[in-house]
Structures are given as structure tokens and as C-alpha cells.
């Protein structure tokens, strides 16, 4: 079966090149990036074709769970254009000059530039110690803020200085403050026999001494590029937002343990300003909307709208109910709704701001895992004012919004055409990738309808999809489980009851 990965990330933006306004659409399908200009349909892919085909010969080991050991270099360090890891996140610099991306399996932060001929150039790839899961940029574009699965946020310069990244360069101690003090000094056991500790600790101590005597102590190499630990949660980070309000910079982070934390931006990122308390399930997405308010969502039935500078909950939006209403309204989807509606849960996978000239009224688009629709909510401080479900012909994977004019916006979606709508695991009988990238437009009335202005671009992207078999790090055969693993995982953030090791013991 000829089937490739849907685009797991999508980004549309307008830029001005040599005085000409143009709209670019970028998609990431597996390990490959595709860019296209909307009016001309010109575009390119990364890595370039020949490399991509070379990659297919290699066995697709990247889909395996990566080992616990930290891989310091990606599979092919010498070939900077090689990549077998799947993209998990795309961010655009505020000046629209750079695309910052995360590839998951090799834990890399990659910076790309798209030139005026729509060629994609990779400027740098920096393998982190832990797998990054969210990125954003400071408002001056100088710094990438990279949040990882281990709960830490690092600052990396967007552009590496020429002497940075050189193999022999010693990282100044101030920039790697968080790294464990892996001093090359002679090994000394961390405790003495006098020390009071449990049997387990004693075993660890004995093991340490034994390892030292064998001279086998493997020490982690420090990262060979400039990076600075800013802050950390003892939890998996899920999203990060940078905000600049009245000249003050803030970092807002969300985690799996229901927290939304507001910290100061560097150089004072060690100061926590406050928490937006209220979520009872994991928080997965944060979105700063036009009015400056913050919207957060994840495993809860509601989205929360915050006056985040005062840590005050303004209102909530019932996203679960909106999803239920939508599913029940669609004949072929109503079977998904469980008999016991109370037990129905949603996992918010995306929240996007819809830019409007009216700063009092906020509008967002929201997607939930395994739901074939985009939900549009208009709201103000008092609550929801408007709701619309935009049906898709497959589960929503990613969405990107651009403002075409002061009152009109275009939303481009990436749709899962591999699985049946509403299912995370059942494959479709027939591939339907003809509408993998549907586009919608919304006028001043706020109603969304299908749109064709980006059809050329969407067509180009879709074409890249169907020829991309194998390039996605998947061997010719479509590995459904791998696709599922790449596209879906948000609901797994939900805590399972009865998993307390303390109670089992």
C-alpha cells in the first residue's frame, strides 16, 4: 500500500521578499520537511531527494524506543543534511527568517532558513541531553527556549557563533550550571562506611567503588555548544510560552502535574512569579491570545482563560461538551460516544490564536486527540460567545493560522488520512490523502468555511506526501504502530488510578 505519514507539524506564514508579499506553507512528514509558496506552487524538501532515497536503504531502527544512553551525535555527524529522526515541533522566529524545529529520536534542536528560491537550509543541529518537547523564541529572536521531557528549560542562542560547537571548545562553567559536576578528579566514594544508609544505598556504594577500581566509570560528555539551564519542574514539561508585557519578559511553562508556572525571563529566570492553579488533569497546551490573556488546556473538560499576570482564572470554556455535541451530530461518529457520557474524556492537542483587529474579543481554534474537527471559540472576559465545529475528513493533527487581512484569517489543517476518523488505531480501507491539507477561511462574522486560496500549495504538499514513502524513517511497509506512536500520545499523559508503587509495596 502506498501510504506515507500525514504531516505531523504544519506552519504557514507570510513574509516579504524583495518587496513581494508571499505566503509559505511548511509541513513536516516524519523526518522530512516540505516548503511551498502558495501562489506559484514552487517549493522544495529537506533533506534533498537523493539523500532521502539513500536513507531508505538503512533499516528503520529509529522507530524503536531509543536507548537510555544519551546519544551525543546524530546518526551521521559528518553529513549535516542527514536526518532519520521525526520532527515533533516547528516554531517560527518573530522576524520570520528562521524555522526552529525539534526532531525527537536524536533529541536535536535544528535551525533552518528558507531562501528566496524556497530552498531549505539547515543552519545548525544541536543534540540536547534530554528529548525536547516544546520550543519557543524570545521576542527579540536572540534565544531559543527549549523545554524537555525531564522538566528543564534551556536557553540556546538562535544562531551559533562561529567558534561555538567546535569539538574542543570548553563550555564555560557558567553556561552549564545544571550539569552534574562531573569532575575528572580521582574517584572518591560519595559516602563512607560510617554513613548511615539503607542496604540499597550500601549496594550502590559498593558498586561505585567496584566500578572505580575497574576504571570503567563512564562519564557523560558535556554538550559542546552554548546552553544555559533556566528553570525546571519535577514533571514532564508540555508547553512553553514567552511573553513580553510592558517591557518585562516572562516564561510560562506547563506540566503534566497540572501546573501552569509563570517565571521571569532571563537573566532572572530563576525567579518564579506565580502559578495559575486550577487544572485537575495534565496541561498540554498554552496559548497567548490577542488580548494578552492566556488559554490553557489538556486533560480537563474545560479550557481555562487566565489573567495570568495576576494568576486569576477569568472563565472556562467547555471543550469536552463541544466535542460531544459534534460527535453526536455526525451520524458516522456518534458510535464513538460512550453510553456513559460522564466518562467521556478529551485530550487537547492544540490551541491557536486567531488574530483579529478587535482586541476585546478573543478567538481560538482548538483540536483534540482523535477528533476529526477543529473547534472555534470566540470569548471575552465573561465567557464563551461563539462556538463552531469545523468538520474534517480525518482526525486533526496540526493547524496553523495566518491573518490575510485585518478581518480575515486562513486556517490550514493537517489531517490523519491513515486512520479512520475518530479512531487512533483503526486504519482506513482506502487511502484518502486528496484532502490531507484542508484550508478554511473566516471573515469578520467569525464563521469558518472551506477555502481554496491555498489549494495549489496544499496540492504540492500532498504530492510530497505520497512520494515520501520510506523517507519518513519507515521502511517501505507502512508501520501503523509507528505512525500511531508519532501522531498520538497526548491521552497517555493522563494519570492512571491505582499506580501508586507505595500502595502496592
Amino acid at each position: 500500500m502506498n501510504m506515507a505519514l500525514p504531516f505531523q507539524c504544519l506552519k504557514a506564514y507570510r513574509r516579504s521578499v524583495k518587496g513581494k508579499e508571499e505566503t509559505l506553507l511548511i509541513g513536516a512528514s516524519g523526518s522530512r520537511l516540505v516548503v511551498v509558496e502558495s501562489s506559484s506552487g514552487q517549493g522544495s524538501t529537506w533533506p534533498a531527494e537523493e539523500e532521502a532515497s539513500k536513507e531508505t536503504e538503512a533499516p528503520a531502527e529509529d522507530e524503536e524506543r531509543p536507548g537510555k544512553r544519551i546519544k551525543l551525535t546524530p546518526t551521521n555527524t559528518n553529513d549535516s543534511n542527514s536526518n532519520k529522526s521525526n520532527f515533533s515541533c516547528l516554531a517560527l522566529s518573530n522576524d520570520q527568517q528562521y524555522i526552529v524545529a525539534i526532531t525527537g529520536e536524536d533529541k536535536c534542536v535544528r535551525v533552518f532558513h528558507i531562501d528566496s528560491d524556497y530552498r531549505i537550509h539547515q543552519l545548525s543541529q544541536r543534540p540536547m541531553a534530554r528529548r525536547p518537547c516544546a520550543i519557543t523564541l524570545t521576542s527579540d529572536d536572540s534565544t531559543i527556549l527549549c523545554a524537555d521531557k525531564f522538566g528543564d528549560v534551556y536557553a540556546l542562542p538562535l544562531l551559533m557563533s562561529p567558534d561555538d560547537g567546535v569539538q574542543d571548545q570548553e563550555v564555560p562553567p557558567t553556561t552549564s550550571t545544571a550539569e552534574q559536576p562531573e569532575t575528572p578528579v580521582e574517584f572518591k566514594p560519595s559516602a563512607s562506611v560510617l554513613t548511615v544508609h539503607s542496604g540499597r544505598n550500601r549496594k550502590v556504594l559498593e558498586e561505585q567503588i567496584r566500578q572505580a577500581s575497574l576504571g570503567q566509570r563512564k562519564s557523560k560528555e558535556p554538550l559542546k555548544f552554548k546552553h544555559e539551564l533556566l528553570l525546571g519542574h519535577v514533571s514532564m514539561l508540555t508547553d512553553i510560552v514567552y511573553a513580553n508585557v510592558n517591557g518585562r519578559g516572562y516564561i510560562v511553562t506547563s506540566d503534566r502535574d497540572e501546573h501552569v508556572r509563570v517565571s521571569r525571563a532571563p537573566p532572572q529566570a530563576h525567579i518564579i512569579e506565580g502559578f495559575c492553579h486550577g487544572h485537575e488533569e495534565f496541561v498540554n497546551r498554552l496559548c497567548l491570545v490577542s488580548s494578552g490573556r492566556l488559554v490553557s488546556g489538556g486533560g480537563d473538560a474545560q479550557l481555562f482563560v487566565w489573567d495570568w499576570l495576576n494568576y486569576r482564572l477569568l472563565t472556562t470554556i467547555d471543550v469536552r461538551d463541544a466535542v460531544l455535541r459534534f460527535l453526536k451530530s455526525q451520524a458516522e461518529l456518534s458510535s464513538i460516544v460512550p453510553a456513559n457520557e460522564e466518562g467521556f474524556k478529551v485530550a487537547v492537542t492544540g490551541i491557536w490564536n486567531v488574530p483579529r483587529s478587535d482586541a476585546q474579543r478573543d478567538e481560538i481554534l482548538v483540536t483534540c486527540e482523535g477528533v476529526p474537527a477543529i473547534f472555534h471559540f470566540g470569548f471575552d472576559e465573561a465567557g464563551k460567545k461563539h462556538e463552531q465545529a469545523i468538520p474534517l475528513n480525518g482526525n486533526a493533527i496540526d493547524v496553523t493560522v495566518i491573518q490575510q487581512s485585518p478581518d480575515s484569517c486562513v486556517a490550514v489543517a493537517s489531517v490523519d488520512y491513515v486512520h479512520k476518523p475518530g479512531s487512533l488505531k483503526d486504519p482506513r480501507e482506502q487511502k484518502q490523502d486528496d484532502q490531507a491539507i484542508p484550508t478554511f477561511t473566516s471573515g469578520p462574522d467569525g464563521q469558518w468555511q472551506a477555502d481554496s486560496t491555498l489549494d495549489t500549495a496544499a496540492g504540492f504538499l500532498t504530492k510530497q506526501l505520497s512520494t515520501a514513502v520510506g523517507a519518513a524513517g519507515l521502511a517501505g511497509e507502512v508501520d501503523l504502530k509507528a505512525i500511531q506512536g508519532l501522531l498520538y500520545g497526548t491521552a497517555n499523559l493522563r494519570k492512571q488510578p491505582g499506580t501508586d508503587p507505595d500502595q502496592v509495596a
Binding site: G232, V234, I271, I272
Partner: protein, 280 residues
């Protein structure tokens, strides 16, 4: 495992016998509450924790300080299920990883006007301390002793800000924490650069973090990571030795006594929470 059911049965019978008599003033027996010394701070314990500090039911832990509800409240208006959870003054001293509560019970009479909270991640150990609080309160009912001490089960590494508001605490004790010797377990240590930001958040400026350990390596680690954090400065030794809590910490904790018996070293370090600097 052989013997396990018998042990569990004995524990259950013992705990039932304790519950039978509310006014029972006998101290709980430690042997029924022993538990392995380690807990993984990253795993999803089925913990109870408040959504925010104002959602915390403090009144049930400090009943003598519960905010009295106005009696003449209109019946129709009051939500009958809603009970008062607030207390008249906030908790000011936190003993993080309080174990069997040695420090907690030594501090309580020394700081009679402050509320002191022991926080412990292990279920059985927490139950022991809670039973002991109950027994000591019963024994000292004439003087209202130990009404200012309480213990809850909590994973403070994840949920400290759920319990305490910004700048609420005056003292945080970190006594004989799990050293987590393995390199890859260092993030599980109770002191790290990033976690220190949370201690700074719940401490008021001038507040003190007290650390003590018998493991020199861990002592150095805690000193390094707290000194590196811009919100803290180390308290000088003269001042440290004048602090009455230091002596209590050395002698009254269970681990402190064990180290004493083994003639081991005890490393103490105190850190003061500094004022936040102006915005850049």
C-alpha cells in the same frame, strides 16, 4: 514473599485497635509503620493534594486553629456540604521529608505560636506521625500542646506550590534527605538548582533553608546548588551556631541520633532567602 501476609495482618489489627479509641493517648509503635527508605519522586503516587493553597483543608490538620464558622448563618444559603477549611494563621515552618517526625515534635514546643507541618512521601511513615500527633495532643490536652504540629503525605518536589503561597514560609528543613548516590538519580535529589526556585518561591525574604546530612558528598552538592542560586546566600557559621534550630536538628532527628550512635559526621548548612532584585 513469605511472612508478608502475617505482617500486613498484624499491622492492620494494630491500626484497627488504635482507631477503636479516639481518646487513646498511647504513642504509636514504630515497628508497625516501618517502610523502605526510598520513594521515587517522579512516579505518579496516588497522592491527595490541593488544587491551590487556598483549596487546602488546613482545619482538619490544625483543628485548634480552625476558622470558626458563623453559627447564625441562614440555613438555605449555606451549602451544607461545605465545611470550613481555613485556619486563623498560615503554616510557617515546613519539615520536608519529616520521616518519623523527630524534628517536628522537638520544634513544636519550641515554637508554640507557629504552625509546623511535616511532609513525608511514604504512606506508613506519614500515618505513624499522624498517630503520634493525635496521641501527643491527647496527652497534652490540658496545655493545648502539639496543636501546632501536623503531618501530611506529599510529594513536595512536585507539589510544594500547591500547599504554600508565595512567601508564606519562614523556615524549611531538609534533614538527612535521601542521598541518591547514583549519578543518573541526581535529579531526584531534594536540592537542585531548578528546585531551589520553588523553595525560594514559598519562602519569605529572610526565611531560612536548613540542611543537614551525614553524607559529605550530598552536603557539598546541596551547598553548591544553593549557593549558585541567586535567591539564596549561605548563613555564616557564627550565626548558624547561634540558631536554636541547628542544635535541635542535630540531636532530635531520628537519623541524627543514628549517626550519633555510629559516631558519624553531621554536616549542617543554612541558606537565607534574599529579596528578589528589581526587574531588569
Amino acid at each position: 514473599m513469605a511472612g508478608e501476609p502475617a505482617k500486613r495482618q498484624k499491622r492492620e489489627e494494630y491500626k484497627k485497635s488504635l482507631n477503636a479509641d479516639e481518646s487513646n493517648a498511647a504513642l504509636p509503635k514504630k515497628k508497625f509503620y516501618r517502610q523502605r527508605a526510598h520513594a521515587n519522586p517522579f512516579s505518579d503516587h496516588s497522592l491527595a493534594y490541593p488544587k491551590s493553597p487556598s483549596d487546602m483543608d488546613w482545619a482538619s490538620h490544625y483543628p485548634a486553629y480552625a476558622v470558626k464558622q458563623p453559627q447564625e448563618k441562614d440555613e438555605a444559603e449555606s451549602h451544607d456540604s461545605e465545611k470550613a477549611i481555613a485556619i486563623t494563621q498560615p503554616v510557617e515552618i515546613a519539615d520536608i521529608g519529616c520521616g518519623f517526625g523527630g524534628l517536628l515534635f522537638a520544634l513544636a514546643p519550641r515554637f508554640p505560636t507557629s504552625l509546623i507541618l511535616g511532609m513525608e512521601i511514604r504512606t506508613s511513615v506519614t500515618e505513624y506521625v499522624q498517630e503520634k500527633v493525635r496521641a501527643l495532643r491527647a496527652q497534652n490536652s490540658a496545655t493545648s500542646g502539639f496543636q501546632n504540629a501536623a503531618c501530611i503525605r506529599a510529594n513536595t518536589m512536585k507539589f510544594l506550590p500547591n500547599f504554600f503561597a508565595k512567601g508564606q514560609l519562614a523556615k524549611i528543613f531538609l534533614c538527612f534527605p535521601d542521598p541518591h548516590f547514583k549519578q543518573r538519580k541526581h535529579k531526584a535529589r531534594i536540592v537542585s538548582y531548578t528546585l531551589n526556585s520553588e523553595y525560594a518561591y514559598v519562602l519569605k525574604p529572610g526565611g531560612i533553608v536548613y540542611t543537614i546530612t551525614d553524607v559529605e558528598d550530598l552536603h557539598k552538592w546541596m551547598v553548591e546548588h544553593l549557593e549558585k542560586h541567586p535567591s539564596f546566600e549561605r548563613v555564616r557559621e557564627e550565626e548558624q551556631e547561634k540558631d536554636e534550630c541547628v542544635e535541635i536538628m542535630r540531636t532530635e532527628t531520628e537519623e541524627g541520633k543514628k549517626v550519633e550512635r555510629n559516631k558519624g559526621m553531621k554536616y549542617v548548612a543554612l541558606f537565607r532567602r534574599l529579596e528578589d532584585p528589581a526587574w531588569p
